[in-house]
């Protein structure tokens, strides 16, 4: 089934696309296209996932993070092949389109080493290479290591993996090999961490920090275990940095995820219900909007951090040990 991919052909097709787009401008310098690229984004899709939905996510990302996108579609019964297109948009009020290159590679089972060998030649030079691995099976293939090693960052989403603790362990092992990682389960927590930090911007509450002795994480075991473990590790680590030692308990089975910090006469709780975040401090509640995140929002945030995220790396290591 597997045939071959020729990097030179892909590069030539990319080059031809720009010449064709320039010709369409027909000498009008104010029209035509503007080539835009700030990174190479390699997306490893899941077999059978909705191509249109993924295409929409990438189209939404491109204006903020213009990239040479290489989308790898695992397709068990199709030969190794590549197709080059351009993703273009017209900024409001302008006559010139902005375009990014997109390469779609169909990869039959077991072909990841072959695919990895063509990524280096077709990646945009001198710009970061980010791998967004949406497929857990591929992440665990032996060939994935070669791809991860050439990437500036590998992004996964462990919330879709069946065993949260095991997933964090595997990520920690990869991070220990020097690979820079991002996990959308962690990205989900940005708003949670902000809200919890804001509680302690109140000097009165900050002064009561030493009273906290217990941290409880309540979560839905189906897809929130990695988030709960990350959040728990982050809270414990933050409190330890402030000289407060606490006991962490993880409580699966809750419909509404929550984090609770409590002591003798002090209790802080953040709970998410129906698209809202409710923050309660000693019975006094506040409510803000927290709509569900999308892949686009989460990835857009992650792509903004191309270099190592030291906070995440520390939390990942702690979460893997707990």
């Amino acid at each position: 089934m597997s045939t071959t991919l020729a990097p030179e052909r892909i590069l030539r097709e990319m080059s031809d696309i720009w010449v064709d787009l320039a010709k369409q401008a027909d000498g009008d310098a104010s029209a035509g296209v503007l080539r835009s690229c700030s990174m190479t984004l390699v997306v490893i899709a899941q077999e059978g996932e909705d191509a249109m939905a993924l295409g929409e996510t990438l189209a939404a990302l491109m204006p903020e993070h213009p990239a040479r996108a290489i989308v790898i579609w695992p397709k068990r019964n199709e030969p190794l092949a590549a197709k080059v297109t351009a993703q273009c948009w017209m900024p409001f009020g302008q006559r010139r389109q902005i375009c990014c290159e997109q390469i779609e590679i169909t990869a039959p089972e077991g072909s990841m080493p072959d695919v990895a060998s063509v990524i280096s030649p077709i990646a945009a030079p001198d710009l970061p290479l980010i791998v967004w691995c949406r497929c857990r099976g591929t992440f665990e293939e032996p060939g994935f290591g070669a791809l991860a090693e050439m990437a500036n960052k590998v992004i996964v989403d462990t919330s879709a993996w069946p065993d949260g603790k095991g997933a964090i362990g595997r990520l920690a092992a990869m991070a220990a090999r020097g690979i820079t990682l991002g996990d959308l389960s962690w990205t989900h927590l940005t708003r949670w961490r902000e809200m919890l930090s804001q509680v302690f911007e109140n000097a009165m509450y900050l002064a009561r920090l030493p009273e906290i002795s217990r941290v409880r994480m309540r979560y839905n075991a189906a897809n929130m275990e990695p988030m709960a473990r990350y959040m728990g590790a982050w809270v414990v680590n933050s409190l330890e940095n402030a000289g407060v030692r606490v006991e962490l308990t993880l409580e699966p089975g809750a419909d509404d995820p929550a984090v609770e910090l409590s002591g003798k006469d002090f209790r802080v709780e953040l709970v998410r219900q129906d698209g809202r975040m409710i923050t309660t401090v000693n019975g006094l509640s506040d409510c803000t909007s927290l709509p569900p995140s999308s892949d686009y929002l989460l990835l857009s945030e992650e792509l903004g951090i191309v270099q190592r995220d030291e906070t995440f790396e520390r939390v990942l290591a702690l979460a893997a040990r707990s």
Binding site: L5, P7, E8
Partner: protein, 483 residues
């Protein structure tokens, strides 16, 4: 124009398609004629037929126009014969006399040696003995590389050519110099005021010149086994490109003036001693690998290659230029077969900002990249603030691309160079003193490499070369780009 080696690959793939394109663009005079010479017995018509097939097959972006071809083909002639046979030159003289009469060429003749290098001297002497070195018009000789295999042989070759032709009539062709972007280096440097003040040791950290090929030796194993990447690419193409990047501004764009500056630069390159060579050079040879699902052989598995061959299919060298402008700035040159992609680029890495006031990527240096092939263009990488709150910096690049900026084709290197030779402009050709200066710095490296037994193969096909080449840069805290 007289082509020796008219049945060879270069004639079919490059020379005649380039001449046809020049005719297509009405850049050749009406009486222009080509005389092909080779041992293969052919009539004029058979030669025309073969060349028509060549033009149809190898003209990449020129539509075949039968009427243009018909007019062009009227000027194609063929003289069969052996370069070592004195009779050949007599027949050629007779043919040139007929053409001069019938096509009013004014006695101007451009001789093009597209033969085995070992036959260059014989061909020049044969032309001389038949009185073809001089005539009623100008007489010029174009020679393809290699110009010798070391300093002594380069000098010997020049001596033979000079028995018949003056140095000013000898055009040593280096097709790299005919590429649009290489010529654009001069425009970029000397036509703009903003770059030249930065073009020195104070602002430039180091320079990387890469000529990578994704293909293997493609049936040229026997030749490559003798030549190697150092002699085949670095001694000529890459040192010429380096000279163009690093030369001083010439007083004018006159051939002598430009070539004097290029030559001066080549003569300023430091000659290394054997112990310096071991630290500042890295030979490599590719081994077998699987790329994109295809199994590719190692060099030693290629046809005609010795199973224990010590030939370098990859060469990386650090050069230093001992002049005030470049003292202490390393110039890293590398070339290889079976690297991940076909690309030729010059990357000028500037010093980082003297003070890093931003967290994270605040010290990423600026990079100016000149792409020679493919997608000829220039790109400048710099840091920019990412939109949004906070001060996050991200590298971005500003690109100029020939294909999409002008929307018109660039002439091939051979079109440019052949036309230059016809009109007598030697600016883009290599002079004897440049060849000798190049060999002076390359020959000691070649000698050390030949005296050393390397543990080849030392890089897998489809990768960016041996570890020793990475280590060569790491000693100065640098890393190779991945173009």
């Amino acid at each position: 124009m007289v082509i020796f080696g008219a049945s060879g690959d270069l004639t079919k793939r490059k020379l005649v398609p380039a001449l046809f394109r020049l005719a297509y663009d009405r850049r050749l005079s009406a009486g222009f004629a080509v005389v092909g010479i080779s041992r293969t017995p052919l009539s004029d018509d058979q030669f025309r037929e073969k060349m028509m097939e060549a033009v149809k097959s190898f003209s990449e972006d020129t539509q075949f126009d039968p009427e243009v071809w018909a007019a062009f083909a009227q000027g194609l002639f063929y003289v069969p014969g052996d370069i070592n046979d004195p009779g050949l030159y007599q027949r050629l003289a007779q043919k040139l006399g007929e053409i001069e009469q019938s096509r009013h060429t004014g006695g101007n003749v451009l001789f093009y040696l597209s033969t085995q290098p070992s036959q260059y001297g014989q061909a020049a002497l044969g032309l001389g003995s038949a009185g073809l070195g001089k005539g009623s018009g100008w007489r010029r000789l174009v020679v393809e590389k290699p110009f010798g295999h070391d300093l002594a042989s380069a000098r010997a070759l020049s001596d033979e050519l000079h028995q018949v032709f003056d140095e000013s009539d000898v055009y040593r062709i280096d097709h790299y110099l005919g590429k649009e972007t290489v010529q654009n280096i001069l425009a970029f440097r000397f036509g703009n005021g903003i770059f030249e003040p930065l073009w020195n040791r104070r602002y430039v950290n180091h320079v990387q010149i890469t000529a990578a090929e994704s293909i293997g030796v493609e049936g040229r194993g026997a030749y490559y086994q003798e030549a190697g990447a150092l002699a085949d690419m670095i001694q000529n193409h890459l040192l010429q490109v380096m000279a163009t990047i690093a030369m001083e501004p010439s007083a004018s764009f006159h051939a002598t003036s430009v070539r004097d500056e290029r030559s001066k630069l080549l003569r300023s390159i430091r000659q290394m001693k054997p112990d310096e060579i071991r630290c500042n050079s890295a030979p490599g040879q590719y081994g077998p690998a699987r790329i994109g699902g295809a199994q590719v052989p190692g060099f030693r598995q290629e046809h005609g290659v010795d199973a224990e061959s010590q030939a370098d299919t990859y060469a990386a060298v650090t050069f230093f230029v001992d002049n005030w402008r470049w003292a202490g700035v390393p110039f890293y040159l590398r070339s290889g077969k079976r690297l991940p992609k076909r690309v030729t680029e010059i990357a000028i890495q500037f010093n980082p900002a003297p003070l890093a006031i931003f967290d994270g990527e605040g010290t990423v240096p600026n990079l100016l990249t000149v792409r020679i092939q493919p997608e000829e263009g220039i790109s400048l990488k710099f840091l920019s603030k990412r939109p949004g709150t906070g001060m996050t910096l991200r590298p971005v690049s500003m690109d100029f691309n020939y294909g999409s900026s002008f929307g018109e084709r660039s002439p091939s290197a051979y079109e440019t160079l052949l036309l230059d030779a016809i009109i007598g402009d030697a600016t883009l050709y290599t002079r004897q003193d440049m060849v000798e200066a190049s060999w002076t710095v390359v020959e000691p490296i070649q000698t050390v490499w030949r005296e050393t037994k390397y543990d080849f193969p030392n890089y897998a096909a489809g990768t960016w070369g041996p570890k020793s080449a990475d280590e060569m840069l790491a000693r100065r805290g640098h890393v190779w780009r991945k173009p």
